[in-house]
């Protein structure tokens, strides 16, 4: 994944603790991939959700430090979920995910309080 947005993700305040993460994406295939990716890292996936609505519920229960939130999902808009999550949990960092590099989404996500913006998919930087 490529980090595009400015990062104020509140990871690593306590070096010894792993960062709890909730994955939100309507594609189970992708969630599975990211889960594998985060194995043996400082991140610990403590919950998953397949829609924006579900994400709000899961975040409410799990209280993660970080949410990886897909912008466009079949079961509800990720940007709406961002708003709801930030309203309830201002301390939770939300990083938006998307397949398409769209400046409008990026601007809306940052305006909505997202800590950053990750582009899903084929990262040219990882090929070398």
């Amino acid at each position: 994944m490529t980090m595009i947005g400015g990062g104020t993700a509140e990871s690593g305040t306590d070096e010894t603790r792993r960062v709890s993460v909730v994955l939100v994406d309507d594609h189970a295939v992708w969630r599975g991939g990211v889960r594998s990716l985060l194995e043996d890292t400082e991140f610990e996936v403590i919950g998953e959700a397949a829609s924006g609505k579900e994400a709000v519920e899961v975040v409410r229960r799990a209280c993660p430090r970080l949410v990886l939130l897909d912008i466009r999902m079949a079961g509800g808009d990720g940007l709406d979920a961002l708003q709801a999550i930030k309203a309830e949990h201002p301390q939770t960092a939300v990083v938006m995910l998307t397949t398409y590099d769209n400046p409008t989404y990026m601007a809306r996500a940052v305006a909505g309080g997202a800590a950053g913006y990750l582009l899903k998919g084929l990262d040219p930087g990882s090929d070398d």
Binding site: V29, G32, G33, L37, L122
Partner: protein
């Protein structure tokens, strides 16, 4: 003396629908070419003398002729109707005239075009009539209606607010065969006469026949517009669906495969051999899914089966797929076109009609048996080769007119008939509640174009699968 000049606008900037035309020679209406009616115009309104009757006939003929030319000219349908109403008003010496176009289902008016009202009167009156009262009465009559005192007529339902008072009335139905397409209405016969005369009825009837043509044109125009916008919407809808399918299917699998390959590389670098194998397996699994997904997508976009299996094979495959999805107990294809190829447009049309008809049967018919006929034959009169496709189910059936007019499903039915008509074929939809549904398309059985062209086209695309006969001959 009032000079009734009759104006024809040749320019496209025809004035707004309701204009008080030509009250005097000093009319400021200058958007079109003004043509003054021949001598006798002023006399005919009250004249029954022998000279004026002949003049009147000549005027009726000339007006009718001009209206016909007007309809043929490059105008929108509504402008032609406006002209007809104005011509009727002038001919019958009425103060006001209107032309109402019946809705296709006969329930009220689809269009109402007036002449004789000033723009102020028009603005004050607001909404147009919907076809009740005396106006509605005309839609159910096949004979003209002449009334000397409109207010005393039993069907008179009162004027809407700000409606100018009108007394004498002449209504002439506009017919096409037994169907009433609309009516011409005239009110307030001008001074010097008690009411509308028999001569007025005949004059307006002469225009009614032209109005029928103009209304028919207008309805065709509306139908074409509706079809076109339906097609554009369908195309957009299809593109959106393809975009979603790409995003939700293929893209996800490819991205997942990439992700697991990346993890595989990391695992190798870290010397974790078991993880290398696991991630590699995952990657291969997702790549395989991607290939299956891409095949599925391509198949949906283009009836590949048609190229590979020919029409009968493709319809057979389609029928089996739909049978499985719908859970029909019986689904048969009867055909006599094994191995035979037709022109691509004919094959595609037959296939798409079969597809639409079978989809409808699955979604709506609630039947158990479906039979598809695909028969090459000959036209009974011309002996020209034909290809008949028939899809019949034993389901609940429906009232075709009701569905065609009112539901979204009408679009699919229209598109089937449109496909068939575009090729010069004959399309029939036979259904009634409880009677099942039969869709029949008789298409001209055009042969494929000359073989060199087809060979070039198929080369490199579907190697070895399409039309093997041709390859043998070359």
């Amino acid at each position: 003396l009032r000079c009734c000049s009759y104006q024809f606008a040749a320019a496209p900037g025809f004035p707004a629908r309701s204009t008080r035309y030509n009250e005097s020679v000093t009319s400021s209406n200058d958007t079109g070419t003004s043509v003054t009616a021949p001598a006798g115009t002023a006399n005919h309104t009250n004249g029954d003398g022998p000279g004026s009757a002949a003049d009147h006939r000549a005027l009726v003929l000339e007006t009718a002729n001009r209206v016909a030319v007007d309809i043929l000219a490059n105008r929108t349908g509504v402008e032609a109707l406006q002209h007809i109403a104005e011509a009727a008003r002038t001919l019958a010496g009425a103060r006001y005239a209107a032309l109402g176009v019946a809705r296709p289902d006969g329930q009220g008016l689809a269009e109402f075009i007036t002449t004789g009202l000033t723009p102020e009167e028009e603005a004050r009156m607001g909404s147009r009539p919907c076809g009740k009262g005396v106006l509605g009465l005309l839609l159910t009559r096949t004979e003209p209606l002449r009334v000397d005192d409109l207010l005393a007529h039993p069907a008179f339902a009162g004027y809407p607010p700000h409606h100018p008072p009108m007394r004498t009335f002449l209504g002439v139905p506009i017919r096409r065969g037994p169907a009433v397409l609309g009516s011409l209405y005239l009110t307030d016969k001008e001074e010097g006469s008690g009411g509308f005369s028999e001569a007025d009825v005949l004059a307006v009837q002469a225009l009614g026949a032209h109005a029928a043509v103009a209304i028919h044109n207008l309805q065709m125009l509306y139908r074409q517009r509706a079809l076109l916008s339906g097609l554009i919407n369908a195309q957009e809808e299809e593109r959106r669906a393809v975009a979603y399918e790409l995003h939700d299917g293929l893209t996800q699998y490819v991205m997942a495969a990439h992700l697991h390959l990346e993890l595989c590389r990391r695992a190798r670098a870290a010397g974790k051999d078991d993880k290398v194998g696991r991630e590699l397996d995952e990657s291969l699994r997702y790549l395989k899914e991607a290939v299956v997904e891409s095949r599925r997508l391509v198949n949906g976009l283009r009836a590949l089966a048609l190229d590979d299996l020919g029409l009968a094979g493709a319809v057979e495959q389609l029928l089996q797929e739909e049978k499985e999805r719908a859970g029909w107990t019986e689904a048969d294809l009867v055909h006599n076109v094994a191995g035979r190829r037709f022109d691509k447009v004919v094959e595609t049309a037959a296939f798409r009609v079969a597809q639409e008809a079978l989809t409808n049967a699955r979604k709506h018919a609630q039947g158990q048996h479906v039979r598809v006929l695909l028969l090459a034959g000959a036209h009974p009169a011309t002996d020209a080769p034909t290809l008949t496709l028939e899809v019949r189910d034993n389901g609940v059936g429906f009232v075709p007119d009701a569905v065609l007019l009112h539901s979204d499903r009408g679009f699919g039915l229209h598109s089937m008939s449109e496909r068939v008509h575009l090729l010069g074929g004959v399309y029939d939809l036979i259904s009634a509640p409880g009677q099942g549904t039969t869709v029949r398309a008789v298409l001209p059985a055009l042969e494929p174009p000359n073989e060199d062209e087809q060979e070039n086209e198929s080369e490199g695309e579907h190697t070895g699968s399409a039309a093997p006969d041709k390859d043998l001959q070359s």
